[in-house]
Symmetry: C2
Subunit: 770 residues, 2 copies
C-alpha cells in the first residue's frame, strides 16, 4: 500500500492515526476463534441435502435409510419444520419487503436449494446420510432469465408478491419533464448495458452453531453482519420472543453484504439442535457459498440521455431489471437504491427511471457491496465517457462540469451537504497526470504494437445510512471502569474492516484519553445495545456518531467525579490525553485512574455513558483514475495502476480506510474482468461453483494503487465530519476500467465481466466493419 492518506489535520489526538488494531494479532497467529473453531461438548454436525433440479414439487421424500445410518441423530424435511412464511433479509428498518421464504418448502425454486437437513456425530456420517435421502421430484417448467420470467404466461415461481414474477412493484422515479428535455438536446445517446453474477468470495464460509438451554433459550453463533436481524428473524420464525434468542458473533472472515441475510441453514441448525437437545454446527463448503450464498444482482439496463453541445445533460431515461433469483432477499432495497442512484452523480433536471426485480429459477441475489449502484453507475459513467467522445471533450472535464453540487437532491431524497466529487476529479486529474497521459501514445512500444495502453476515469457517490425512506439508529454505551479503563459496547459487527478500532478511536478522541484505554465489547445481542447491522457504509458514520455522544456523556461524568475529588466544579476542569487538570492551574490535576479509584472517604466509581443517534444521510464521493494494458493478441486486460481519490469527510484510521479502498478495487477488478458465477440458462444448473472455475484476482493480479483520501466535504452528521468508505471503491473502479479499455483499443463494452474472449471478438468485429 502506498501513501494511505494525505492532507490530514493534526488537531486530533487519536483519529486520523493508524493505531494498532486489537484484533490483528489473534488473526495473524490463528488464535482468534471463528464460529467454525467452536466445538462444545457433544456437538453434532449439520449438513444439507440440496436439490438437483431447478423448479419442482417434491412428490416424496424418504429419510428412513438415512435415519437408520449409525451416528445420524436427526433429519428434518419440509414435513417436520414450522411452515412460516418469512423474509430472507429485510432491511432491519424496512417495512416494504415481501415474505417469500419457508424454512423448507414442498417446492424447490432453484438448483441447489436445501430440501432436508441432517445432524450426525461427524461430518462424514452426515454426508453419507445425505446420499441416503431419497427425493422424488415432479419437475416444473423453469425460467432462468428475467426476460423469460416477465413474459406473459411464464411459470410463476411464487404465489406471493405483485405477480408476473415481479419481486416488488416497479420503483418509478420521475422529476422534471423528460420529453421536453430530450427535445432540447443537441444529441441523444442510448444504450443497453448488462452485468453478470459476481460472488462476494468471503474467506470464511457461512457457518453457525446452535445450542438451546434448559429454559428454552437459543444461543446462536453465526457469521453475520447483522446479529440483531438474525435474532429477529429466528425469533419470529421459531415463535420466540427476542429475549429467548441470543446471537453471538466474534471474528468474521468477511461478508460484503451477503451475510446480511438469514439463511435456510441457520433455521435448520437451530431446529436440529432443538430436536437433538445437542449443540449443532453447520458450515458451508466453498461450493455451498456459491449454491446457497448470495450474488450481486445480474442486470439489464437501458439508458438514454440528451446532451447539449456544452455538455449539459438535458434528460435521462433509464430502465433497469435486476435478476433476483429464486427469492426476494434484498431485491427491494437493491432496486430502490440502485434505481434512485441514477437521479444523481451527474446533474440532470429531467429524469425518468423505472427499476424492477424479477424472480428466476436461479440462485439468490442479495446484498453486495455497492447494492444496486454498481450496476447503475457502470452504465451512467460509461455513457458519460461516450458523450465526452461525441463532444470532443475530455471526459474528466465533462464529468466535472456535471458533477453533483451542494444542495442538489441526493438519491436518498435529501439535499446534499458535503459535495466532494468535484474535489476528487480535480485532485485526481492532477496527481494522476490525466491530461498528460491521455495525450501520450496508446502504443508506447512500436516493437509490440499489439500491446496498447489506455486511461480511464470512473466516478461514483454512495450514501451512508442513505436508504431512501429509512430512518436508521445507531447506539453505543461506554462504561468507564474503576481503574480508568473504558469499555465501549456496540452491536456493530466486525467484518474484518477495522470498524471496532475506528469506534474505539472515536471514543478515545471524544474522551480525550489514550487510545489504549478503550476496549470494545461487541458481538452478543444479549450484551450490547441494539444495532442495525454492519452494512450500507454506515458503521463509522452512524455508530461512530452514537459512540461520540456516549463518550461525551462519559467524559462529563469523569469530570464531575474528578471535581468531587479536587473539591471544585466540573466546569473548572479540562481533560487532555487522560489527565484532568484545573483550567486555571494546569499543573494541578489527576489521571482518570486516580479520579475513578478510591481515596480515603471516597469509594471507587463507575460511569456509564449512552449515545443514541438517528442520522441524517450522508454521501461520500470518489473518482478512480485507471491505467490499463490490453493485449490485442490474447485479449488479456491488465490493470497497471489506479489512483483512487476518495472524499470521506474525515478519515478515522487511514490504513483501514485505504485497506477498504484497495479491497474494493481488487473485488471490482474481478467483477469487471473475470468473475461471473454462471448458471446454465436451459437447466438452471450451476456451472462454476468454486474458486477453481470462478476466477478472482490474486495479489499478483493487483495494480499499483496510490490511494488518496481527501477530507474535502465533511458531513456534519458524522463524527468530526466522517462519512462512509466501504462500498465506494467497488462502484468507481468498473466504469474506469471499461473506459480505459475503450481508450486503449477504441472499443466500447456495455457489460461485465469483459473477458479476453470479449476483447478478441470485439476487435475482430471492429476489423470486419472497418
Amino acid at each position: 500500500m502506498n501513501k494511505p492518506a494525505n492532507n490530514l489535520r493534526n488537531a486530533f489526538s487519536t483519529i486520523g492515526k493508524s493505531v494498532k488494531r486489537e484484533d490483528v494479532i489473534e488473526k495473524v497467529t490463528g488464535e482468534g476463534a471463528y464460529v467454525a473453531d467452536l466445538k462444545p461438548v457433544g456437538m453434532l454436525y449439520g449438513k444439507m441435502k440440496r436439490s438437483d433440479v431447478a423448479h419442482a414439487r417434491i412428490k416424496r421424500i424418504d429419510v428412513s435409510k438415512a435415519l437408520a445410518y449409525p451416528g445420524v441423530k436427526a433429519i428434518l424435511t419440509h414435513e417436520d419444520v414450522p411452515r412460516v412464511l418469512h423474509y430472507g433479509s429485510p432491511h432491519p428498518r424496512s417495512v416494504s419487503c415481501t415474505k417469500d421464504q419457508y424454512i423448507l418448502d414442498d417446492k424447490v425454486r432453484y438448483w441447489g436449494e436445501g430440501v432436508a437437513a441432517v445432524a450426525a456425530i461427524s461430518e462424514e456420517i452426515a454426508d453419507e446420510a445425505l446420499d441416503l435421502i431419497e427425493v422424488e421430484y415432479e419437475e416444473l417448467p423453469g425460467v432462468f432469465t428475467p426476460e423469460e420470467a416477465m413474459k406473459p404466461g411464464a411459470p410463476q415461481i411464487h404465489e406471493v408478491g405483485p405477480g408476473g414474477n415481479l419481486v416488488l412493484d416497479p420503483v418509478r422515479v420521475e422529476r422534471g419533464d423528460v420529453d421536453k428535455g430530450f427535445a432540447e438536446a443537441d444529441f441523444v445517446l442510448e444504450g443497453e448495458f448488462s452485468g453478470g453474477r459476481p460472488m462476494p468470495g468471503y474467506m470464511e464460509p457461512n457457518v453457525c452453531l446452535a445450542d438451546w438451554d434448559g429454559s428454552g433459550k437459543l444461543t446462536f453463533w453465526t457469521s453475520t453482519q447483522s446479529s440483531f436481524m438474525v435474532r429477529g428473524i429466528l425469533a419470529e420464525v421459531l415463535g420466540l420472543p427476542r429475549t429467548k434468542v441470543r446471537v453471538l458473533v466474534d471474528h468474521m472472515g468477511g461478508g460484503f453484504g451477503a451475510k446480511q441475510d438469514c439463511f435456510q441453514h441457520e433455521f435448520l441448525c437451530a431446529l436440529l439442535a432443538r430436536e437433538t437437545r445437542k449443540p449443532v454446527r453447520m458450515e458451508f463448503t466453498r461450493r455451498e457459498t456459491f449454491l446457497a450464498g448470495r450474488s450481486r444482482h445480474p442486470f439489464k439496463l437501458w439508458l438514454k440521455q440528451g446532451f447539449r453541445k456544452d455538455g449539459t445533460i438535458t434528460a435521462r431515461d433509464m430502465r433497469i431489471v435486476f435478476d433476483s433469483g429464486a427469492y426476494g432477499s434484498h431485491s427491494p432495497g437493491v432496486t430502490t437504491v440502485g434505481t434512485n442512484s441514477a437521479t444523481s452523480l451527474y446533474r440532470c433536471e429531467n429524469v425518468r427511471l423505472d427499476g424492477r426485480a424479477v424472480y428466476t429459477n436461479t440462485p439468490i441475489a442479495g446484498a453486495f457491496r455497492g447494492y444496486g449502484v454498481v450496476q447503475t453507475y457502470y452504465a451512467l459513467d460509461i455513457q458519460m465517457d461516450e458523450a465526452a467522445e461525441r463532444l470532443g471533450m475530455d471526459p474528466a472535464d465533462l464529468k466535472l462540469k456535471n458533477a453533483v453540487r451542494e444542495g442538489d437532491i441526493a438519491p436518498s431524497g435529501h439535499a446534499i451537504v458535503g459535495h466532494g466529487l468535484e474535489a476528487c476529479i480535480e485532485h485526481g486529474t492532477r496527481v494522476f497526470d490525466w491530461k498528460g497521459l491521455r495525450q501520450g501514445a496508446r502504443c508506447p512500444d512500436p516493437a509490440a504494437s499489439h500491446v496498447r495502453k489506455g486511461w480511464g476515469l470512473g466516478c461514483e457517490m454512495h450514501g451512508s445510512s442513505a436508504y431512501p425512506g429509512i430512518k436508521e439508529q445507531g447506539n453505543a454505551l461506554i462504561k468507564v471502569n474503576e481503574d480508568g479503563s473504558v469499555t465501549l459496547m456496540t452491536g456493530a459487527a466486525g467484518l474484518g474492516t477495522g470498524a471496532h478500532t475506528a469506534l474505539a478511536q472515536i471514543a478515545a478522541e471524544e474522551l480525550n484519553m489514550p487510545f489504549e484505554s478503550v476496549s470494545v465489547v461487541h458481538g452478543d445481542t444479549d450484551a450490547v445495545p441494539w444495532d442495525i447491522g454492519a452494512f450500507a457504509s454506515h458503521t463509522t458514520y452512524l455508530v461512530g456518531s452514537a459512540t461520540r455522544m456516549a463518550a461525551a456523556e462519559a467524559r462529563a461524568g469523569i469530570l464531575r467525579r474528578a471535581a468531587e475529588k479536587l473539591q471544585t466544579t466540573a466546569d473548572a476542569l479540562d481533560m487532555v490525553d487522560g489527565r484532568i487538570f484545573l483550567r486555571a492551574s494546569p499543573d494541578s490535576g489527576l489521571t482518570v485512574a486516580e479520579a475513578m479509584g478510591p481515596t480515603p472517604g471516597i469509594p471507587s466509581a463507575n460511569i456509564l455513558g449512552r449515545g443514541t443517534y438517528e442520522p441524517t444521510k450522508s454521501y461520500s464521493f470518489a473518482a478512480h483514475f485507471v491505467e490499463v494494458t490490453v493485449d490485442t493478441e490474447t485479449g488479456l486486460v491488465t490493470v497497471d495502476r489506479v489512483v483512487p481519490v476518495h472524499d470521506v469527510g474525515k478519515v478515522i484510521h487511514p490504513i483501514a480506510a485505504a485497506g477498504q479502498i484497495e479491497g474494493g478495487i481488487q473485488q471490482g477488478i474481478g467483477h469487471t474482468l473475470t468473475e461471473d458465477y454462471i448458471i446454465d440458462t436451459q437447466t438452471g444448473r450451476s456451472l462454476n461453483a468454486g474458486l477453481v472455475d470462478y476466477k478472482m484476482p490474486l495479489s499478483m493480479d493487483m495494480p499499483d494503487i496510490d490511494t488518496v483520501i481527501l477530507e474535502a466535504a465533511p458531513d456534519p452528521g458524522g463524527p468530526w465530519g466522517a462519512k462512509g468508505v466501504g462500498e465506494d471503491p467497488i462502484i468507481a473502479i468498473g466504469p474506469a476500467i471499461a473506459n480505459a479499455i475503450h481508450d486503449a483499443i477504441g472499443v466500447r463494452f456495455h457489460h461485465y465481466p469483459i473477458t479476453p474472449e470479449d476483447i478478441l471478438n470485439a476487435l475482430n468485429e471492429k476489423e470486419r466493419q472497418s
Copy 2:
C-alpha cells in the same frame, strides 16, 4: 412451607406474587450449566498442593518429579508467580482493608494453605503430581486462638497491619456517658459469650475456569457473589486493565457471603491457563471448601448492661474479639458492622463498644450471612432474656419496651425511617400464642418427665446497604426490544435466592407489563453494568431501586413511541398490563409489541432505559418465636416449631422471601446446635473437614415453620418500600433457641453450638450445685 405471606396489598400487578422463577426448570432437570459443567476443548485440570503445617517458612520446594509425570503441563510455586500483596476481599466500595495476601508466599500461615498448583490433562494425574511435589518446611511457632495471638511477644503472623496480630485498629464506638449510666442502674448484668466456627456449606464447591485469548484477555468463569470484585482483584494482581478481564457466572449453588472473596486458587487457575495457553478448570473438593473456604468468625464477647427496675437499659459496655484466621479477608467489615450493631436493636443512650479482629494460624474467616451481627445479637438478646428473668417480666414485653424506634440512630449512623421491630414482636406474640404457651407446663407428659418443652424469643435488625461509612451504588439497564419483549441487564449475581426473578418483577411492575415480558441478562462483566455484588441483603433493595428507575425511563420511552404511532402526546397515554391506551378513550390503544414493531412508514424501535441508584441505608426487622424440646437424658435439643415474623417493608416474591427465611432458620439451627468446624488448638490441624463429621441439619431435622411476612415499615429507599431479608433469619433464630432451652431446662448457655454434651454437662452441674 406454610403461609408464606399475609396482609399483602393487592394494588400491584406483579410484585407480591410468587411468579414462576425462570431458572428453576434448568435447575430441577439438571440442564442448567454451572462452572463445573463447562469443558472447553483442550481444557486442563488444576489442583492445589496444601500445607500440612500451620505456620512455617518454605525452605525448599521441588517440583521436578511432579513436572516429569506424564500429563502434567505446568506447576506453579511461590517462585513462579507475581509477588503482589493483595486483598482477599475488600468490600468493593471500602478503602479500609489491609492487603495481606500473596498468590503464593514462601511462608504458610495455616494448615491447608496452598503452596503449589498443578495443571494436568486429568484430575487423577493432577492429584498424582501433588503427591510428587516435595516441600521442606521450617516450622514456626503457631498461635491458634485470639487469646494466644494477642499476648505480648506472641509470634507475629503478618508483617503488615497495626501489629500485635490485630487485623485492623480496634473499632471503638462511644455514645453518652456509660459510667454515669451504670451508676443510674438498679442492677447490672455481665456475661461472657462465645461462638464456634460454622461453615456456609454451600452445595456448589468453589470452582473456576480460566481461558486467555490471543489478544491477552482473560475470560474467567467462577462461582462468585461479586464478579466485578473478582475482575478488579484479578486485574490488579495480574497487572491488567479491567477491560482485559471478563468474569462470568451463570447459575450458582449458594454463597452465603463466603463467595465474596477472591481465592488463592482463582489467581493460580488464571496463571496456569496463561502458562499452558490452555483453558484450566479448578474445582474444590468438599474437603477443600473447609480447608480453603471461609467460615464465620469465631468470637469471644464480654457484655455488661445496666437496667432500671422498669426495664430501661441505662448503659451498655461491650468488648468483642473476632478470630480472623490466617488472613484478614472480611474482618474489617465484620468487625465494623458487628461492633456497631450493638448500638441498637434495644435502645440505650450510653454505649461503649470495642471490637477487634485478630490473626491466628487457623483457616480464614470471611463474610458469612449475618456478618458479625449474628455474634453480637446472640449475646445481646440472651442477656435481655436474662434481664427479663431478673425483672420478673415477660421477655417479649421487655424487648418490646426497649425496641428500636423511628428516628433512633441505626448502627450505620443514620436515623431509622421504618421501625418494624415492635410490629414483629407484637404480631408474633399473638400468632404464636406466646403468653399462653409460656404459662403452660414445661413437662407436658408426666410419663416422660425427662422431655421438657421451652419457648424462646430472639429479635434482630439488619441493614441493607448499611455498612457504616460506605456509599453503595446499584445499576440497571433495560432494553425494550422491537417485539415488545424486555431485557433487564444486571450485574447482581444469582446465588440461588431468586434475586433475578425479583428484579424482573420490579421491572415488570414499574413498566406495568406482564412479568413474562421480562428476561434477565446477568453474570458477564463485559455485558452488564457495574455491580457491587450480591451480599449485605441489598440486591432487591439496591439493584431493585436501580431497576425501577431504568424501567421508569423505558416506560416513558415506550409511551413516547406509542404516542408517535397514535399521533398524540405521551402525556395523553397510560399503559396497564402491557396495553397502551388513550386516557381519554381507554378503548383506543395498542400493545407494547405493536408500539415497538414496524408499521408502514415507521420502522421498528428499540429503547434503552438506565437506572443508577445511590441508596440510603435501610433496616429490616424480625422476631423469631421458637418452641424446643430438650431431652434431659440424651441432651438432644429438637426445634419443634418456629414462627418467624419479618418486616421486609414490601415483599416482592413471597415464596422466595419465605425460602430465604426458612433457609436462614435451617442454617441457624445448625450453627446453634450442631455445626462447628474444629481446629486443633495445639497444631492448627483441621479435625472435621467434610460433611460426615461436620453436622448440618437435614430436611428431617427441620421444624414446622409458620413464616409471617409483615409489610409494617416500608423504607422509602427501596422499591415500593422493599427492604432486604437475606441475612435476617439467621440472626434471630440463634438466641431464640438458646432462650427456649433456658425456658425448658433453666440453664443458660452463652455459646454456640449448644451440643447434647453441653446440655448434659450443664444439667449435671446444675444438679451438683442444687
